[in-house]
């Protein structure tokens, strides 16, 4: 699936839930399935500045695709990361840089999350795109 298709899939999944409680359950489930980052990458330099919860992000380039791994000490944050990962993981730097990421808005997450949390999500996406940019420059 390309990035756009994955985004559409997530938006459709979210539309199935009637209320946010259900959506949160879904986010939490995704959080539990997040491929976790190796402990040695959980360093302060890899911390993304968030609000109340910590987020670590690591990326590697293999055969033209970027592989992300990440973790957070809060499960809902982990779920949000997992969603972003689902969309961006294992794509080329160009694809990642071109990703619209409008699922954040179309799932209602952007509106629903508090500004600090929404910011955290946006920062995470930004960091992934920055990584993609760095890999692209290296190629």
């Amino acid at each position: 699936m390309n990035i756009q298709e994955i985004e559409t899939e997530i938006i459709e999944e979210f539309s199935l839930f009637e209320d946010w409680m259900g959506k949160y359950e879904h986010i939490i489930e995704m959080g539990k399935s997040l491929p976790v980052i190796a402990e040695r990458y959980k360093t302060d330099e890899r911390l993304i500045k968030g609000c109340q919860s910590k987020v670590w992000l690591h990326s590697e380039m293999k055969e033209g695709k970027i592989f992300f791994s990440a973790d957070s000490d809060a499960i809902i944050t982990k779920g949000l990361i997992a969603m972003v990962m689902r969309v961006l993981n294992e794509h080329s730097p160009d694809e990642i840089l071109d990703a619209k990421m409008d699922f954040v808005e179309k799932t209602g997450l952007k509106e629903h999350l508090s500004p600090t949390r929404a910011n955290g999500l946006v920062n995470m996406i930004k960091q992934m795109k920055l990584d993609a940019l760095a890999y692209k420059a290296k190629v």
Partner: protein
């Protein structure tokens, strides 16, 4: 009189009707507001006073001869007198309007601080809000003075013996919180003050979390300074009080200067006004002062003694109910507590708990509560904090407990 009889003195359902926001829905659920420690909700008496000010009374104070200006000047000065009476200050000119606790503390740190010399010491406690740490920390850095910290025990109680040991001939001021916003601990401020005074050291008390819960009598405490915010005692945001003993206020150098703080001004020489106006530069938060007085009147109408008794009952009920939840640990178990309960749940991030409770319409605070040193002391990244006011009910606590259990299931 026993607790039950006293409690029946309050008609909580009637009181709740005074707070329009309490009938709001949040995420489709009836709001359960358990974050009064961050800011209290406002009764319509306060909202009405502010509306009336803007629709009928607005003018600048201490300035004009016209009727509106005179009317609002006396209303504002009456508000000062209401606050003076409420905390039993000796004089109205010992009451200075500020923007809040934070500014009140900064005012003292800035002015008193001018006298500080290298090697002088300021004492604070390990349970201070950042607002009662940073002004002193910054001052000590500027003046090469030393900030010393009175430690606390595992229950979150001050170690008075350590306090006595920390006092030295270099100690110039002691700044302590009356009630901890994170742990709920009520500190024995009267005793702390008398120990300090035996060595002629002045004391500032941060009363931000005490003022909504108990009667404050600054003369009985014999405190040199007492600070609080309007918004935590059911009044508006952006207004607060610095109480200072007359002899201190007269001695303190100027803080911010400008319009309102003077008698006569010329480029050669300015003669400053008397206290309290010398510390109130610029047009003040007039609506804030008026609203705060309305809040104080409201609290007195309900009766602080009734409030203390009922809130204590809520605290005990909530403590019992919360403690029964598996894996839940209350942080802050001092013998003497205000209605603030911080807790952690094994394996669950406070932030996750806060989000799920919010979905259920339950507003709690999560995080470090501007008291990072406390979090370090207990080795935590944060807690969930429930702070109860007299408009809360046992039914709400029951719903909180149900909510926590549901959230635990989702998050585990």
């Amino acid at each position: 009189m026993n607790l039950k009889e006293k409690h029946s003195a309050l008609d909580i359902q009637k009181i709740r009707k005074d707070f329009p926001i309490l009938s709001r829905k949040v995420n489709g659920k009836s709001l359960i507001y358990l974050d009064s420690g961050a800011t209290a909700q406002k009764p319509k008496q306060v909202i009405d006073a502010i509306t009336k000010y803007y629709s009928e009374q607005n003018a600048n104070i201490h300035r004009g001869v016209h009727t509106l200006s005179q009317e609002i000047t006396s209303a504002y000065e009456n508000a000062r007198a209401t606050i003076q009476k409420h905390i039993n200050a000796k004089h109205t000119h010992e009451i200075i309007f500020t923007s809040g606790t934070t500014e009140s503390i900064n005012l003292v740190a800035t002015t008193f601080g001018k006298w500080l010399k290298p090697g002088d010491e300021i004492l604070v406690t390990a349970m201070e809000h950042h607002s009662n740490i940073l002004p002193w920390q910054q001052l000590c850095e500027e003046k090469s003075a030393v900030l010393k910290v009175i430690p606390i025990n595992e229950k979150g109680e001050l170690l008075l013996d350590e306090y006595k040991k920390l006092i030295s001939s270099e100690t110039k001021l002691i700044s302590i919180t009356h009630v901890s916003n994170t742990l709920g601990t009520i500190n024995p401020v009267k005793e702390i003050i008398s120990i300090a005074h035996a060595k002629n050291i002045p004391v500032l008390v941060d009363g931000a979390q005490a003022i909504p819960h108990m009667r404050i009598n600054v003369q009985d405490l014999d405190t040199d300074f007492y600070c609080f915010s309007g918004h935590k005692v059911y009044g508006p945001t952006g207004v607060g009080i610095l109480y200072g003993k007359e002899q201190w206020l007269r001695k303190l150098p100027n803080y911010q200067v400008g319009g309102g703080t003077i008698k006569t001004v010329s480029f050669a020489k300015t003669e400053y006004a008397d206290i309290p106006l010398r510390f109130e530069a610029g047009t003040p938060n007039i609506e804030g002062g008026i609203g705060l007085a309305a809040a104080i009147d409201y609290v007195n109408e309900i009766g602080l003694e009734n409030i203390s008794v009922y809130e204590h009952e809520l605290l005990e009920y909530a403590t019992k109910k919360l403690s029964a939840i598996e894996g839940l640990k209350i942080i802050g178990t001092a013998k003497n507590k205000a209605s603030v309960i911080s807790f952690v749940i094994h394996g669950i991030h406070p932030y996750d708990m806060g989000i799920i409770l919010d979905q259920l319409g339950i507003a709690v605070r999560t995080g470090h509560h501007c008291t990072q040193p406390i979090m370090d002391k207990f080795g935590l990244k944060g807690t969930v904090r429930v702070s109860l006011a007299f408009y809360n009910t046992k039914e709400e606590i029951n719903k909180l407990v149900k909510g926590i259990i549901k959230a635990k299931e989702m998050l585990k």
